[in-house]
Symmetry: C2
Amino acid sequence: MTQENSGWVISVTVSPPSLDDNTADADRLINKLKSILKTDTVDVDLPLLKTLPLQIRKWGYAARCVCFKDRGRWKLVGMKGPRDVDDSGVCAGIAADLGTTRVVLRLVNLETGETIGETAFDNPQIEIGPDILERIHFADNAAGLENVHQLIIDGFNHHIDTLCKASGVDVSDVFLLAVSGNTSMAHLFLGLPPGHIIREPYIPVVNTPNTLAAKELGIRLNDTARVFVFPNVGSYFGGDLISGIVYSGIHQQDDIAILVDVGTNAEVVLGNKDWLVACAGAAGPALEGGVSKIGMNAKPGVIDRIQIDPASGAVDLHTIDGLPPKGICGSGMIDMMAQLFAAGLVDIRGKFVEAACGDRLRESDGIRRIVLATAEESATGEELSISQVDIDSLIRSKAAMYTILETICRYVGVGFSDLSTFYIAGTFGSFINPRSAITIGMIPDLPDGTYQSLGNSSLGGAAMVLSSPNALDEAIEIRDRITYLELNVNQEFMNRFSAAKFLPHTDPARFPSVQVKTT
Amino acid sequence: MTQENSGWVISVTVSPPSLDDNTADADRLINKLKSILKTDTVDVDLPLLKTLPLQIRKWGYAARCVCFKDRGRWKLVGMKGPRDVDDSGVCAGIAADLGTTRVVLRLVNLETGETIGETAFDNPQIEIGPDILERIHFADNAAGLENVHQLIIDGFNHHIDTLCKASGVDVSDVFLLAVSGNTSMAHLFLGLPPGHIIREPYIPVVNTPNTLAAKELGIRLNDTARVFVFPNVGSYFGGDLISGIVYSGIHQQDDIAILVDVGTNAEVVLGNKDWLVACAGAAGPALEGGVSKIGMNAKPGVIDRIQIDPASGAVDLHTIDGLPPKGICGSGMIDMMAQLFAAGLVDIRGKFVEAACGDRLRESDGIRRIVLATAEESATGEELSISQVDIDSLIRSKAAMYTILETICRYVGVGFSDLSTFYIAGTFGSFINPRSAITIGMIPDLPDGTYQSLGNSSLGGAAMVLSSPNALDEAIEIRDRITYLELNVNQEFMNRFSAAKFLPHTDPARFPSVQVKTT
């Protein structure tokens, strides 16, 4: 597109019709848009055609046109009068991060790209089941699919309404919705049968959906509003990652960078402007604090940082909002593990060192645990402790993560030191202390400043699509460009994994910056 | 498209998915179609996506795909299994000639192009008003528009149902509908406000509509069926003419040909494969038998041919089905006029020659008339006669037609003798005896065999679009290629018109073949 700064809203003025120029109203406008957008075709939906003649006459043959495109094909989505004759409101769009657990909506001014408002809500499909598998099984028959689909559509409608009201924007002034979610969430959002996603050979219904009419999905926005759902690369590499790549800019950089979304699944993209390789693998829920009895999502009273004094072994817990501790989040777990190791409370195998732990070490049913907060100190009235089982699980997860990173880099013949930037995506990722993650050998030992947290890159990429036609093109191009590497858990992978199950690694030379208290 | 013979139905087989090839079901099929159709994008609507995974597995990763395109952009519209595993019915389409008075539907097998069945019905909008103007005025407010729109949609649904039932075709096996009608009828069919069509400067809402979802229009066919409405060149040159051009093949011929749709409006296209010029002008209803008191549409008992013996002045009426006469149709009027003139009953000004008419000539209220059938001879019990007023009106109409033909040919510098073929379009046109039309100077004096009747070319072009992707492309190209000549009723036009108000013309040298009885 030529008008980079104008985003999706194009201001046009056309000459009024005359006996010498009897071009139809729609074609008159479309011809102008075609020349501005340098394209052959601009489609118009029927409801817009019906009102177009009245509006364009009212506005003196000038209009602000909201346009959108689907793989090169432009569509006139909505119209407003020129600003001096039409003060009926903004041209708005909504970017959505459609998470399995949480959904975030951001209302964006399509003309300026500015954020107007934002809201978040729990994915209402949680009532079917907190994890994806349960929802997919539930959707195995048509009634179940319709049910789980309608839950998320209703959730969108309700919270879009609320967000618009709170922001003083009329819902009918929302012309575009860009939705970024993993492959399963996108399927359920579209009402597509997700059954084959989880069954070998793991096949989605669609990789690159068309843009859709919001109406067709039952989403209440402007009558002709369009919905863009980010394309996926496969069942385990979804549109949320494509959106994250758009947001990171990896695909435009000269230098090689890596993007990692840390979670139950570790999704990794490696590349630059010339090539992109991606893979995904199970890292285990331990990284999200999801295995430990006291693991929980970040919220007030949850331990998110830990300091252990190597000299005294004293544990200094930091909780969100400074409240008495009631649990520990994923980034807190990584911090804790790093501190336990650095202070010598666990050895390189992750086993508790009895002498160093002192009376914090307890044992019941043959399982050792270390107490982080006593029943008196905790908010729950119960002891907060981490068991050897929790630690073993965390070590397996961090080893899986490291092995995935090592495998993808080896696949393309890139060393960790070749990485100019190591992007950590996702809200959870933004809380991880890279130094702690390096200390336990979860991520490679790269210089400070190499690690960059992207925050909610899934939402960020969706918002970029709302403000720039280029970003939309990029999303499609990225999907088509990515080489997806199927991780074969072969002997070589297992050997790497075994080596990575030490703290930080069986080969400490890989982590020169990690200083460990030697007892 | 490369597969000329296969029409819109493409048979494909794809390799089943595997761990090494995790392309989504839809993309797997689409990629194959893209390579066959040599295109970048093939869209799929949501309802089809929902059923696609189940179907394609059931059919062993093979399918007959009904595809359609809208200005270069392909869409997968429907699917059936390969013939050896799926005997659930044909892939069908419907071609529609949407006339102001009459609607004709033709059910077509999309794979073979064969006609399966045909039906016709009166345009139900006649209850609003028999002519276009009344309907447009009625549609001036939203409720009126919705009313007149819904009448034709309901009519389509009802008669499509009946046609399909009679032909043993399931309505859900109809994937395409191609509609050819004049600009006003197309607007009312689409529910677009037609008000500016009849108000200077005569501007349609749209010249080239997108193809639409049948569902969006409320037309009940397959769930994802598409509707193509022929584009128009302007308010007075509609999609029915574009369809007629496609059918005639003028746009592909080396030699120059002319296509004339004779009616209240005379629409004319002149050209060849390199250029096309069109114009439209009022010829008056006289040519359709619409002015005379005894004028009526062709039906049993209506006079469609007349012979007058120059020697005796005896009148030999031919009626449809040989029934006693009750009126005269348009082609009968032209025949009658030619015979009156050839037999010397009217002079070159069209005035009755008293001596030649004998006792058939009557007069009342100062207006002369010639009796074709007495009250005893007629089926109505009333005398059937043609007045001087009827004849004057017919002469004005034939003069207008000839002047329009002369004007458009002069505009491009083509003589009548340069015309290789003179196509007469429309059902009415097919009844006209060219020799009679030449005799009265309505059309130029060209050799026998130059004149060709096309029959219902509007329906014919629509049916061609259903059997050939090329024909669809041609319809759009023709629209874009046509130079529309606005007929200015200036002094030069009026001079030509005055000269043409004689029988056959003030300059008889233009009609050397016309032999007139000299008294």
